[in-house]
């Protein structure tokens, strides 16, 4: 099955419906959680994950209402993770607004994240056993990814395989879930579903590697530069460069207690000198290729083009 269901909404209408669904779900939450979720939903999120889910579903026939509800579930998982990540990282802003914990305090923000995860659970259970099972597995992997992410802070010897495991658990797992749920909803055959899931996982890894590169270079993408380095969260370019840091200058600078974003230009040039950015770009390209190779297994046509476009829109913007 490669035809799009006639009832499926065009992409913009779809994201609007997902947003509405999120707001409707938020109505069931008590204050101050409701307000926090509403602020996040109203912020400049691109709803990448629901769009990915819908694009995968378009390989078959999906019920449009269920698709909207599933889109809201995957976005809500993302929002819940953001709430908790911001508590851990002490982030000051999120989506252009003050981060939740700065507005309502650490404990309320943490409870808000918990309330969102709980809402994910009831909504997923409503959508069926298969959805509940897949969602709970992913949320468990995300929680493990969160652990991996914190414990590697300031680790200048963090090995690349461990980095990839982290990226797969923290970021790619949710992309993978979007494709899995989309494929299941579109009633794709096992071959197509398998290819879509592999596409999602590889796309997620690519996305995160490029996101890590973004922490180093100001390029107007709107993300504050150097935050991750200040927090001791070293991404692919830095980890590659550290492996070539025989004199230890980069490691010493990165572990300096007085490190600030003023040190970033020097970090950038040390990483550049040690070939970190090139190596990370190659790694990203490898994973991007894997994602595209998975797409090659899918029938040519509208749905596949839609995924190619989605991936293209997601990735180059982040280089």
């Amino acid at each position: 099955m490669t035809t799009t269901t006639p009832a499926a909404a065009p992409p913009d209408a779809f994201t609007a419906q997902v947003n509405d669904r999120l707001l409707l779900l938020a109505d069931d939450l008590p204050e101050p959680v409701r307000g926090l979720v509403r602020t996040l939903v109203a912020g400049p999120g691109k709803l990448v994950r629901p769009r990915l889910l819908a694009a995968c579903a378009s390989f078959g026939t999906a019920d449009p209402d269920r698709l909207v509800r599933l889109g809201a579930v995957v976005e809500l998982i993302h929002l819940a993770s953001l709430l908790h990540d911001d508590v851990i990282d002490e982030a000051q802003t999120r989506r252009g607004a003050p981060a939740a914990h700065t507005a309502v305090g650490t404990e309320q923000a943490m409870l808000a994240g918990l309330a969102c995860f709980a809402l994910v659970g009831t909504e997923a259970a409503d959508l069926g056993e298969g959805v509940a099972g897949a969602v709970s597995t992913t949320v468990a992997k995300l929680a493990y990814g969160e652990l991996l992410d914190v414990e590697r802070a300031f680790d200048t010897a963090f090995p690349l395989p461990a980095y990839l495991e982290l990226v797969q658990s923290k970021t790619a797992e949710l992309f993978r879930l979007c494709c899995l749920l989309g494929a299941a909803e579109g009633r794709c055959g096992p071959g197509e579903a398998g290819a879509l899931v592999r596409f999602g996982a590889a796309l997620g890894v690519t996305f995160q590697i490029l996101d890590d590169c973004l922490d180093l270079s100001p390029n107007g993408a709107g993300k504050p530069v150097g935050t991750d380095h200040a927090l001791g969260l070293f991404g692919a370019p830095t980890l590659y460069a550290l492996r070539a840091d025989s004199g230890g200058e980069l490691a010493t600078l990165l572990l300096s207690p007085s490190f600030s974003t003023h040190d970033l230009p020097e970090v950038y040039s040390l990483i550049q000198d040690r070939g970190g950015l090139d190596a990370a770009a190659r790694l990203a390209a490898d994973w991007h290729e894997q994602a595209l190779a998975a797409l090659e297994e899918l029938p040519a046509g509208g749905p596949r083009d839609r995924l190619v476009t989605l991936a293209a829109a997601l990735l180059p913007a982040r280089r």
Binding site: L29, P30, E31, P32, V33, H84, V87, I88, E90, T106, E107, Q108, M110, L111, A112, G113, L114, A115, F117, A118, L119, V120, G121, T122, A124, A125, D126, E129, A132, G133, V135, S136, T137, V139, A140, L142, A143, Y144, E146, L147, L148, V150, E151, R152, A153, F154, D155, T156, A157, A162, A230, L231, G232, L255, P257, S258, F259
Partner: protein, 662 residues
């Protein structure tokens, strides 16, 4: 002419673990040979924890080893003064005294002692052969108690040192110190330090351990520096004997406890705490488990090995069961312990105890045991064992330090206050016998309850600004997310029909706590606790097929029990006793856990401490509220007709309310 000795069990290694194995085997009527050299090691004192004391008492060995009881453990985590760990009973004795005493007990029980170097045992046709001195020994079973191997798993191997000192003013306490990290670099490894008072006034033994390569002299020097810092009792310490060094092996994993037919016990199995260097309690317990496994299968060494592995797995969680991430998780645990040193929140206190102490208390509880008739224990015990097995296996690989919260070599875990008990009793109320799926669901409920404690307790204060991870806050979020997510996954996999209710319960808990901490909110303090116990009772009743009236009765019972639990906590806290959640009065009040400020507005821990009238008023309030809740729970139980279910639940709530018994 060599003599030959045919035995049932050959035990190689005649230290504490070997001697206990031999003694216990002989007590079971098996012919045990205890072989191995007398170590020429210099003597020093060591700690006998509560778990070790319990094991030694079961052999009648306490008098024989001449142990001196020490009531206090001073815990010094990171900078700042130490604090005393409540309700820990330890003893101290000389290592030589201990070993000699245990060997005498083994001999008195009938074990044969063969001193001297033992040849490497070889197995032919299912029988082990070895020789020592002029004697050859053959035996069907082989137990290895030779201490830590020098070439162990690299990530779990380090150095242990101990040395006697004089000129020290340590009399009534054992000191355990874990210094603060000096850098933010996760590659840094802690030096763990302990000191125990000696038999002669003014003497003590100081010990230190460290993972990775280390120099013994430097290690002991660091230990003394750490102790003498801010503690004048150690200022004049002078060495009073030679130092003893050994290999630290913390690489325990149940699946490696039987190696090629040999049962490894104690240090040989890697059963040593990497934070304290403590291994004696594990040596005692693993020796008893090995001996009993062999006694259960005297003619089948394979079955004995499998039984031993299974029992170890149900009793201990290692610190480095998987090599991947072990070093990073160890660094995480160290930093969290130090960052939460002054933190009296339930989860911090429980983690501290579970990670540092050989015996912990699982779940919600302290030391209270439910009195239950033997047939009820026989019914409940296997279910809770299965529940623990699922819960532990769910988290032990990924996060061993959390798994230690679930099992910790404790006694009578099936008689503890834990949410799985009302869940089981509620299942029973419908008349349908609980099955394996229910044990998985019980595990999910217990994991979720632990996770909820992370989210529903007061939050730790933010760490001072600086370039660092805020370990206290971060670990709270991580542990909560991890446990709740694992619990939800178990539910979806084992009882999908409960997924919705389970998630709805988590949402309810979040909402109740959120309303409770909202200054404008109007949530009663006990409601969070009521919801914590209402869910297991309700879901158990539903799954067990109970009638609507019984389900309603059990919901009410759960609710009232939760309120009773909180008020009993208040009673303990106001009296200054240890609470089940390990949270003291100031923490209960400032964290908005307690209902006392609702009735006595403006009350604080300081006010209560300084004002006997206010104290007795608060106590009266809490006792009355606890009695009311207890009575209401009992009234609800009148509609539960299943006699065993009702009896278990009565015992459960009576134990909850025991601190305010009327």
């Amino acid at each position: 002419m060599t003599a030959h000795l045919a035995a049932d069990v050959l035990i190689v290694g005649a230290g504490p673990a070997g001697a206990i194995t031999a003694a216990e085997l002989a007590r079971h009527g098996l012919r045990a040979v205890l072989a191995g050299e007398d170590d020429g090691k210099a003597d020093h004192d060591l700690v006998l924890s509560g778990a070790a004391l319990h094991g030694l008492a079961s052999l009648g060995a306490l008098e024989e080893v001449d142990a001196r009881v020490i009531d206090n453990v001073e815990l010094r985590l990171g900078q700042g003064g130490g604090h005393v760990l409540p309700e820990t009973v330890n003893a101290v004795c000389g290592r030589r005294h201990l070993v000699d005493g245990l060997r005498r007990i083994a001999a008195a029980a009938g074990a044969t002692r063969l001193p001297g170097l033992v040849t490497d045992p070889v197995r032919r046709d299912g029988v082990w052969h070895a020789s020592t001195g002029g004697t050859t020994v053959s035996a069907r079973h082989l137990v290895v108690a030779t201490g830590a191997p020098s070439a162990g798993t690299p990530h779990a191997t380090g150095l242990l040192c101990a040395r006697p000192y004089s000129g020290v003013g340590l009399i009534t306490s054992i000191v355990l110190a874990l210094p603060a990290p000096r850098t933010i670099d996760p590659a840094e490894r802690p030096t763990c330090v302990w000191a125990v008072p000696g038999a002669q006034p003014g003497t003590c033994t100081i010990g230190a351990s460290r993972l990775g390569p280390a120099d013994p002299d430097e290690l002991l020097e660091t230990a003394l520096t750490v102790l003498a810092e801010e503690d004048p009792r150690f200022a004049g310490a002078l060495p009073a004997g030679p130092a003893v060094t050994g290999v630290l092996n913390s690489g325990f994993a149940p699946e490696h406890s039987v190696h090629d037919g040999r049962l490894l016990v104690g240090d040989a199995a890697g059963l040593v705490n990497p934070f304290t260097g403590e291994g004696l309690s594990y040596a005692v317990q693993s020796a008893l488990l090995a001996a009993r496994a062999i006694a259960d299968h005297p003619d089948d060494p394979g079955a004995a090995g499998r039984t031993y592995t299974r029992r170890l797995s149900a009793t201990f969680v290692g610190y480095f069961e998987t090599a991947t991430h072990a070093a990073r998780r160890y660094h995480l645990a160290w930093r969290v312990l130090v960052a939460t040193a002054g933190d009296e929140r339930p989860v911090s206190a429980k983690v501290r105890r579970a990670v540092l102490m050989p015996e912990g208390f699982s779940g919600l509880t302290a030391a209270d045991l439910m009195p239950l008739p033997a047939p009820d224990v026989a019914l409940l015990g296997p279910f809770l064992l299965a529940c623990d097995e699922v819960a532990v296996s769910t988290v032990r690989k990924e996060w061993p330090f959390i798994a230690r919260l679930l099992i910790a070599g404790e006694q009578a875990p099936h008689q503890r206050l834990r949410p799985a008990v009302p869940f089981f009793a509620a299942l029973l109320a419908g008349g349908r016998p609980p099955d394996a799926t229910s044990a998985t669901l019980a595990a999910a409920i217990e994991l979720a309850t632990l996770g909820a404690l992370a989210f529903l307790g007061p939050m730790p204060p933010r760490a001072a600004p600086g370039r660092r991870v805020d370990w206290a806050v971060a670990s709270t979020v991580l542990a909560g997310d991890f446990l709740l997510a694992q619990a939800s996954r178990l539910v979806a996999a084992s009882a999908p029909e409960v997924s919705w209710s389970f998630a709805d319960w988590l949402g309810e808990l979040a909402a109740l706590r959120s309303a409770r901490i909202d200054p404008a909110g109007r949530s009663r303090a006990g409601e969070v606790f009521a919801a914590l116990l209402e869910f297991p009772s309700r879901i158990g009743a539903q799954l067990g097929g109970a009638s609507p009236e019984t389900i309603r009765a059990l919901r009410d019972f759960g609710n009232h029990s939760g309120h009773a639990f909180l008020h009993a906590e208040e009673v303990l806290a106001v009296r200054g006793e240890r609470t089940r959640l390990d949270v003291a009065l100031p923490g209960m009040l400032s964290g908005r856990l307690s209902a006392i400020p609702d009735a006595l507005p403006g009350i604080t821990g300081d006010l209560l401490a300084g004002d006997p009238d206010a104290r007795s008023k608060a106590l009266d309030l809490a006792v009355t509220a606890c009695h009311d809740a207890h009575r209401a729970a009992l009234t609800a139980l009148e509609d539960v007709t299943h006699p065993v279910s009702a009896r278990m639940l009565r015992s459960f709530v009576a134990t909850v309310c025991a601190p305010c018994a009327w």
